[in-house]
Subunit: 368 residues, 2 copies
Amino acid sequence: MTAMTDQFTAGAGRTILSIDAMGGDRGPATVVAGISRSAKKNPDIGFILHGPRAELQKLVARRRPLQGRVEIRDATDVVTMDDKPSHVMRHGKGTSMWSAIDSVRSGEADVCVSCGNTGALMALSMVRLRKLPGVNRPAIAILWPSRNPQGFNVMLDVGADIRADEQDLLQYALMGASYARNGLALARPRIGLLNVGTEEHKGRAELKAAHDLIGANAEAAGFDFVGFVEGGDIPGDACDVIVTDGFTGNIALKTGEGTASLIGDLLKEAFKFSPLSRLASVLAYTSMQRLKKKIDPRRVNGGVFLGLNGTVVKSHGSADATGVAAAVKLAFQLAQSGFSEKLAARVASAAAQVQITAMDRTESGDTE
Amino acid sequence: MTAMTDQFTAGAGRTILSIDAMGGDRGPATVVAGISRSAKKNPDIGFILHGPRAELQKLVARRRPLQGRVEIRDATDVVTMDDKPSHVMRHGKGTSMWSAIDSVRSGEADVCVSCGNTGALMALSMVRLRKLPGVNRPAIAILWPSRNPQGFNVMLDVGADIRADEQDLLQYALMGASYARNGLALARPRIGLLNVGTEEHKGRAELKAAHDLIGANAEAAGFDFVGFVEGGDIPGDACDVIVTDGFTGNIALKTGEGTASLIGDLLKEAFKFSPLSRLASVLAYTSMQRLKKKIDPRRVNGGVFLGLNGTVVKSHGSADATGVAAAVKLAFQLAQSGFSEKLAARVASAAAQVQITAMDRTESGDTE
């Protein structure tokens, strides 16, 4: 134990986050810069930082806000973006990612944050944290800029699993509602099921089944079910949580990001076009910065893995210090609200509810 | 035959388009305003206009550019947005939509344009025009603003059918390539297959099979196959044509539209925010109009039904005169290039090619 650890232990009462320093595109210096920003803004966070000790000690020592706030856990191996999840599951024990997840497993930290390889992070999280009782497929949930008063909608799954049957979609609805309650402070979130039309007869068979199942569980689970929604409702105000399978969710997420990025670039070009428009860009600077902040993907950085015994926040691999700080902020909010425990309780009670409903129906001969 | 028809017949050499005047959200006056705009700009278009004769005659008489350019076909029934496709197929004979499609069936017009109910339009087109030999599922293709030099990418299917197996996806690749050649003047289009990652082992089984099938047919069909692409590549420059099933394509299309519309509204708000930003909006007006024109969905209005004996352009139901004119322009370009015949030839030759390849493989015992 180092002197740093002693100082750290002294900082009792802090919410401790477990941070994977490695595996991001910009290396550990960016991660340390990001958590330093968070530490400066928020005196209630402490960090367990995972990676090669000597390198991390140097980086941390340079950041005054991190003094006495960081415990370093030596982990010499790194999961790269090209590593196959199956390989990491077998041989990843010495990696910073494994070590970072294990701090949540042991209960030392409430939430883990990593910029690393998504597939490997999900695979390791499944193996080390295990699925919550009653959850078949964990999901990745993200926040999406929207027309709703809270400014964001929740969408899940955006890529944990390319398949989802009606039972999975029901669990996504429960988990998404829980995330909206704790991440967006919505007492009674409105849930929508993503489809190609809002009429009840449209779409694939599992979507029709999920429509009925989610509707039947809405009251007991404390959310409103608005039925089918379309792609245009993801940034809209028809609902707060969009439920879909990980294939469709991933395509929608990347299409939205790509469209926003194209428009942003065209806008920059437009402002550069003529002397008048260049002058305009100076005058509009403050307003444009405000707009940019509103839809900047770095400000809503962090996919959250739901359905495990513990919460893992996946930051963008290319996140800069601002992006890392945003992911840390999200992790802190979730840890503070006791999100992991609340989610587990919701899923468990809903699983029991579904079982009871199923038993009732069998007994009464009501098969609908 | 009216005097109008005589004048019309005299305008020989014109490219004749069949226009469904009814079924759009804004009624026939908007459709007539739209085709009038097209007629003014382009002396080489003539129209067969379908709907209630008395009403249409009055609307047409008011538009000078349409004098001698329109033949009206009386059709008193209208397909509404709420009509079920199955109902329209059985009882739709007296509708303007049926009549408009039949002008393509009879060969009087090369391309049909309608703002009506998409499901009904596809169902009637299937029944009246029939599928091309070798096509299992027709598709709807759209143009999407992109970073490519041509300014747009083609995406299909965006909602003709929620299912697509590997053979369907191969046909979409062939039809999309043909559309890119004739609609965007790309001699050798680059085709991408939409997936959740670019690695070959990712995604659903039918996507892996389609990957191999499209790759094996690229050379003979005269396109380049770039392999899997992601949602972010839809507005990108990695390929010119994005191939996907109608469920995923529809979600992606509406997500992209919704995201663009949200950003547009936030941008307007930002410009209104302060006196300085309001001044900026005046100075940037011309540049912003240019940008708006570039990504205005009305300017790329028109989903094209591919895989039928004849081409049908589906305009947005809410299209205004600008939107209708854009759909007419697209229909004209496709008619002029002899698109329907070229597409049919491509699909037929590819179907033969696939059959030969399959036979070769069976004979040589190569099952890969």
